[in-house]
Amino acid sequence: MAADTPQRPLPTPIDRTQPFWDGLRERKVRIQYSPSSDTWVFYPRSHAPLTLADDLEWRDISGEGTLYTYTIARRPTAPDFAGDEPQIIAVVELDEGPRLTSTLVNVDQDKISVGMRVRPVFEDIPGSETTLLRYEPAS
């Protein structure tokens, strides 16, 4: 990495969220499920939102979903992302219901549309233990 390349911020997992990040390293999308309310949960929490049930368990899912919304940031969204523009920042709605933040890769900017099908792309970040969950068009 060149000396003048800004340092991208990486997640610092906590014990509670580590299974999600371990899953990405194994090329799996692993999120929480609350049996008492039959709801899926993201991001990982100690208690299920709304019911506050403490029965959350980890389950592997396909990670596929639809594009809920997005933007193409023509200017870096923070100084740390200088050089990454245009950043295609996406909100993905998983087929199980929860939404997550990601970026779109392997996509033609003119062919992005809200509601399009998307699938996971696992990106190992060099020099770190982190794998980020990016998305690409499913077809």
């Binding site: 911020p9 997640p11 906590i14 969220t17 919304t69 933007t71 193409i72 969204t77 920042i89």
Partner: protein, 399 residues
């Protein structure tokens, strides 16, 4: 439930927003003292009568904010509040002050939003600024630090652009209608000397030709960051009656707080303003038709569009034709942000949110001078924090 309309905004202080501050930096506490003095002078109320304060964060102390301020001002109060609702903070402070006064806790409450630069310490400690990612928290254990910041989903442009993109996918997107909001508000700014864009007219073409920042939002649809400051005095009936100006009575409010990051919204297009506005109108016993002007948070043009819809001035999804059919300037048939809005007046930190309150009060007080709406009696005001997800609605009215 609700207010009786027996507390009013009676005094205003507002510093002219400046893109490049021409006066020296001031500590937040110094700004509090100066703004309080100016707002009390405007109302004709002696500082000894103040028995309540509402504050947001100050740079000199991370905690114990109200007592730090009262000690500095030499005041003893019965009501000491800190509000942390971003751009909704000032509007949220107004109803809290009114409620405290109507409960009989206090009589004169000062609300200040000091947003002038502070002096830098001589030996700054190293480490990243806590504002490195805008309003997104990079603190250890913060969900944003772990699940949003690493993907660049930070700061405000990107979130509002996601909202606008979703709006367009649902209802269709009319870039000219959105641009017209900035243009009409600029007309009002052109008649308001303190506005940062006073005497700088723009056209729809100017807006659409300005650089795309985050699709579909252009540069001229985004507020200009400034330095400034604002304060108001809220007082009970007896004090209000002997103050210098026509009181702007606080007759209704609503507040609703949802998520922090748009990703986790239950429905990105169902904003927190919908229930907040309904509550405010119900409490005031007013209909939308009775409103003479709206003074609504306008960090972006999409914010204004969705506010007009979600406050009930037109059906959801019909804001774009509504904006095309109405003149939003101070002399138009639907006066909206008659000071120019933050888009035309400038956004001086939290004082930007305060400017919607000072302007609503100014209009009801009939102190709008060159941009006065004739016979203004009822003003609808909003504060908007985060990403349309912290909303406060207020109704001010004259006698």
């Amino acid at each position: 439930m609700g207010l009786r309309g027996e507390a009013a905004i009676v005094g205003i202080a507002e510093w002219t927003p400046e893109r490049r501050p021409t006066a020296p930096p001031m500590f937040t506490l110094e700004q509090w003292a100066q703004l309080t003095r100016e707002a009390l002078d405007d109302a004709g109320i002696d500082p000894s009568e103040v028995d309540g304060i509402c504050a947001t964060n100050i740079r000199e102390s991370d905690s114990f904010v109200p007592s730090t301020i009262t000690e500095y001002l030499g005041m003893q109060v019965n009501f000491a509040e800190v509000v942390d609702l971003g751009g909704a903070s000032c509007a949220a402070m107004v109803w809290r002050a009114a409620a405290a006064i109507e409960l009989g806790l206090c009589n004169v409450v000062v609300i200040a939003a000091p947003s002038w630069p502070s002096p830098r310490p001589p030996n700054p400690t190293s480490g990243p600024s806590s504002w490195r990612y805008g309003a997104s928290s990079a603190n250890y254990g913060s969900p944003q630090a772990e699940f949003d910041i690493p993907y660049g989903n930070v700061a405000q442009n990107c979130g509002y652009a996601q909202i606008a993109m979703k709006y367009g996918a649902e209802y269709g997107y009319d870039p000219e209608a959105l641009a017209k909001i900035a243009v009409d508000q600029r007309v009002s700014a052109n008649h308001n000397p303190p506005a940062v864009f006073h005497n700088v007219p723009i056209t729809v073409e100017d807006v659409l030709n300005s650089p795309m920042i985050a699709d579909p939002i252009h540069m001229l649809e985004i507020v200009m960051p400034c330095s400034g400051g604002g304060a108001i005095v809220v007082a009970g009936k007896d004090v209000a009656r002997r103050s210098k100006h026509r009181p702007a009575w606080i007759s209704g409010f609503g507040e609703r707080v949802l998520h922090k990051t748009p990703t986790y919204a239950e429905d990105l297009l169902s904003t927190a303003l919908i229930p907040a506005a309904d509550q405010a109108f119900d409490m005031a016993g007013r209909s939308r038709d009775e409103v003479d002007l709206i003074s609504v948070y306008d960090c972006y043009t999409i914010t204004v569009l969705m506010t007009i819809e979600d406050a009930g001035f037109c059906p959801r999804g019909e804001g774009q034709p509504f904006v095309r059919e109405h003149d939003l300037s101070f002399r138009g048939d639907f006066p909206c942000n008659t000071h120019g809005g933050q888009l035309g007046f400038g956004q001086a930190g939290l004082a930007g949110g305060m400017s919607h309150i000072t302007e609503g009060a100014r209009q009801v007080m009939r102190r709008g001078e060159d941009h006065q709406v004739p016979d203004a009696d009822v003003a609808f005001i909003t504060g908007n924090g985060g990403l349309m997800s912290e909303q406060v609605a207020l109704i001010l009215e004259g006698d």
